[in-house]
């Protein structure tokens, strides 16, 4: 534990190359260049030595017993089976229909839209639109409208004239 006070510092310009050198991830040319440098530079040699001692240790896990992996495998497969079933049950219902379902529903939707447009043309009233408000007194009089119309008709009968300019006599006069 006495390394802290004599920490050998690798050349800053080489440090990244030394890491790649250790892992063998450098190009052949870089590898040769680092090898030449290492022959001359003790701190860099120390740096690579440290990596060789430390890094494999970190990556070395203890072997787990075969039972652990058997259980792991069994659990994983059990978990995989559940979503498979969950995903499939509803799909199975639709499998026989799948081939014709899309065009059939498409045609039905277009037909319904066309019929709706033809029949409902000009009659469409949104449900939310409020009815036109008519005053109550007028509404009460609408029942008598026919009566007033008939009176108008009788009055206009008296003013009817024949084509030659003479007034037409009312029916009651003819009879008398």
């Amino acid at each position: 534990m006495a390394r802290n006070d004599i920490l050998p510092t690798a050349c800053k310009s080489f440090e990244e190359d030394l890491v790649l050198f250790y892992y063998g991830d450098d190009s052949a040319a870089d590898h040769r260049r680092v090898e030449v440098h290492l022959k001359e530079c003790a701190p860099c040699r120390g740096f690579v030595e440290d990596l060789r001692k430390l890094l494999p240790q970190m990556a070395k896990p203890k072997e787990l017993p075969p039972k652990f992996w058997d259980d792991y495998y069994a659990e994983t497969m059990a978990k995989l089976t559940v979503p498979q079933e969950r995903n499939n049950w509803w799909k199975d219902l639709f499998v026989p229909m799948r081939a014709w379902m899309l065009p059939a529903f498409g045609t039905a939707a277009v037909t319904a839209l066309a019929i709706g447009l033809v029949i409902g043309k000009g009659n469409w009233r949104p449900f939310s639109e409020p009815r036109e408000k008519i005053p109550q007194e007028i509404l009460a009089d609408t029942n008598q409208l026919e009566f007033f119309r008939s009176l108008d008709l009788i009055e206009s009968l008296s003013s009817l004239e024949s084509p030659d300019g003479t007034k037409v006599k009312p029916m009651s006069d003819h009879q008398s």
């Binding site: 534990m1 990244e16 790649l20 892992y23 991830d25 990596l51 890094l55 070395k60 995989l80 979503p83």
Partner: protein, 193 residues
């Protein structure tokens, strides 16, 4: 197809079979990658049960998304990315790993399976344990990307181009991450060399 022939299938052939509806062959990929998936998850969580859950979750996701695999990368790159993303999500969600809890579980004997080699002599064992703990703490303190690059290269043995593919970054960036991670670890572990 018999069992031996199935075992010899390449990853991409297995994926193709799964995509054609033969989901049962996925179990070959589980056998092939379960140890690696668990180890990565353990490196992130330091907890056996959580590592198990996360890595199994990765298999589950891989299976349910197998039709989305387009073969632009190798299956293992795609799968590693799933595992790493799940682990990173976990660490973000959970925050820092509580090392004290790991120690307590280990002391009480009911804790997770210990991955430190305890076959050495007691003194060496203690030093190795302390060194491992220090290394883990240093890794924990690192930015996620540095740690991921280091774990994939050092622990999983992925090449730098593969690490770059898994992390969806450039090889140059991975080299920088790796260098920073290694330098930090060496600095913190010098007294154990």
């Amino acid at each position: 197809m018999n069992q031996t022939a199935q075992q010899d299938l390449r990853d991409e052939e297995i994926v193709a079979l799964c995509q054609q509806g033969q989901g049962e062959v996925f179990e070959i990929l589980v056998r092939r990658y379960m140890e690696k998936a668990f180890r990565i998850a353990f490196d992130f969580t330091h907890n056996t049960e959580e590592a198990k859950d996360l890595s199994q979750d990765a298999f589950l996701r891989a299976f349910t998304r197998i039709k989305q695999f387009d073969g632009r990368s190798s299956f293992y790159t795609w799968f590693y990315r799933l595992v790493v993303n799940i682990c990173l999500d976990y660490t973000r969600r959970k925050g820092r790993v509580v090392w004290e809890r790991l120690d307590k579980e280990t002391e009480s004997g009911s804790g997770p399976v210990e991955l430190v080699d305890t076959s050495a002599l007691p003194d060496e064992e203690a030093i190795a344990g302390e060194a491992k703990r220090r290394a883990d703490l240093t890794l924990e303190a690192m930015p996620n990307k540095q740690r991921t690059a280091f774990l994939l290269r050092n622990h999983q043995g992925l090449s730098i181009p593969d690490v770059a593919r898994v992390m969806k970054t450039t090889e140059g960036t991975v080299r920088v991450y790796l260098h920073r991670a290694v330098a930090a670890l060496r600095q913190s572990l010098l007294e154990f060399v």
